[in-house]
Subunit: 342 residues, 2 copies
């Protein structure tokens, strides 16, 4: 069948697993596919479209003939292997943070800045941070009309942001916590998450912000293509399995009314606008498993004349990672940057 | 023994229960004490200082001879009974929201504005909202030196904000959730809290903010005594049992350095300043059961030239309610507004 020769790197992780699923859901035209992972996954197999595939070790030769690589690995692995895949002729859509701020790598949310895919200088497209993606999906239609000046965001991030290991750690903690037993020492999170919230679930950078907060701050400006936007972030891990929530306060150069902002959000791609006056509000349990950025609680900020508040929720593994990567792959086809092989 | 004649109203609730405990912990000079509650608690008894007391029905006559009433009831009950207690000669320290914005009722956080206790015109002192109390404890030393211009706060509020009923609801949800069973319909929270976060766990007001958010917005200005402060709040319920957390961004008229702000916070009453560079950060599981407002993550806001970010956590039932009320009672004695009887 005509289509694209694809490889998934980090195929056995939480995001890699979903990349495989999302390719099928969205009927991505796959001609051939291979699944790569670290030596730890040797001997595993995965199913794709009714067929079993071995999980192959991540080696430079594994990229031969591959056109698009969907990669979700730790940054150190990505720094080594993504350039090798690119050198072998593939375009890598890379979910790690390794390439995001590289001026030669576009950082793409298709609803926001798909045109950046015309400038792939290193063969690598960076898939943004899972907080920055839905934030930019929601800000884009507002930024286009009223220009964003400053964003203050506080997050409510789920355990699955740390992947399958995070979820397993959280589950073990939960089981003990609800029984009133001692919480086992954390194995992925940096403390007790069951019945608690953690702002230091990420490494602290020298500027007092965590690495996660600095990603949100920097990537939001790059994705929206406006270095003058001020961004302030507090990232917090909460005891939720899947989907990240964000409390967002946005200052504009020109002030939209709440109704105008709602109208712009309602028409924007990727967004489901909910109306709290109808009792509807974005929630992790509803967003999990979907590809939408749910936006609600749109209201005028009483503390500033040109500011609005929003509440948004999106599935961090799907729109925050796997779905966004597959959407980037679809854009590469649509733009003729990658062409199906017979 | 010489001391104060005290009554606790709402004695069988989560906060009433703690008011009793905190009076003992802080060795408040109690001459006599009575415990009042709605008819639902008829026949119950409570222990105080090794003695059992009947829970008496809430009736106007029950306040005879009482000097200080510590009250934690729904607002409708407070609107009816607190004026009756005041008419009977008591000073009521009222934890409901009924009197907080009444210009004739001081709204007191002792570390911040104890002097307001000199102006008790209606016999009622209002105990502030559980988010506003630690927020004002943390803002006060900064406001005094650099004057707060604007506060943007996003909260992470525990189930116990809805009292014993909230905790029972959360517990039932949790037990089902960890077993993968269907979540029982909520009985106190307004949706599934186990594994989820809720921004509509409070009634929505007409301005698009919830009642809880509007309390934080209004009470913060009244407690700090500065109507010009802009406040924006997003209140969110998270699956935590006890202690509320707050992500706070504060703009000042004059900018403190991070070190200056830390020094001011470290010396301020009621605050435990934690240093994230030492791996210490405020967490609900550590704040629960204490009377401190834990402050951490003090950092310079990259999105604004005169702005700092903070992260704070306090026990919503203790400093956010019972302890603050008992501290107000202590202030009444210290100032000679109420005097021990022989």
């Amino acid at each position: 069948m005509a289509g694209i020769d694809v490889a998934i790197v980090g195929a056995t992780g939480a995001v890699g697993d979903l990349m495989r699923q999302v390719l099928l859901e969205r009927k991505f035209p796959v001609r051939s596919i291979r699944f790569l992972a670290s030596a730890k996954s040797a001997g595993k197999t995965v199913e794709f479209a009714g067929k079993r595939y071995p999980v192959e070790p991540l080696r430079p030769e594994a990229f031969e003939g591959v056109q698009i690589v969907l990669s979700s690995t730790p940054s150190a692995v990505s720094r080594e292997y993504s350039p090798l895949a690119a050198r072998a002729g593939a375009i890598v859509i890379d979910n790690s943070s390794a390439w995001r701020m590289d001026p030669d790598c576009p950082l793409v949310v298709p609803e926001v800045n798909a045109a950046q895919l015309q400038h792939i200088r290193k063969g690598i497209v960076a898939n943004p941070n899972c907080v920055a993606i839905p934030l930019c999906v929601a800000l884009k239609p507002l930024h286009d009309r009223w220009r964003v000046k400053r964003v203050v965001v506080a997050t409510y991030q789920s355990s699955s942001g740390k992947g399958a290991k995070g979820l397993a750690d959280f589950e073990a903690q939960l089981q003990a916590w609800v029984r009133g037993e001692p919480i086992p020492p954390p194995t992925a999170h940096r403390g007790q998450l069951a019945g608690n919230v953690l702002t230091l679930d990420w490494t602290l950078d020298t500027n007092g912000f965590t690495e996660e907060e600095n990603k949100v701050i920097q990537e939001t400006k790059k994705i929206l293509g406006d270095a003058e936007i001020g961004v302030c972030a507090t990232c917090v891990r909460v005891p939720v399995r899947v989907a990240h929530s964000e409390a967002v306060t946005v200052e504009f150069h020109q002030q939209p009314s709440v109704d105008e902002a709602r109208a712009a959000l309602r028409q924007a791609p990727g967004i489901r606008l909910l109306d709290e006056r109808q009792g509807e509000v974005p929630q992790p349990i509803h967003a999990a498993g979907t590809d939408w950025t749910y936006v609600g609680r749109v209201r005028s900020d009483p503390s500033h004349p040109h500011s609005l508040c929003l509440w948004l929720v999106a599935d961090n593994l799907r729109k925050g990672a796997a779905t966004n990567a597959v959407q980037c792959a679809e854009e590469l086809l649509r733009r003729g940057i990658v062409s199906p092989r017979p």
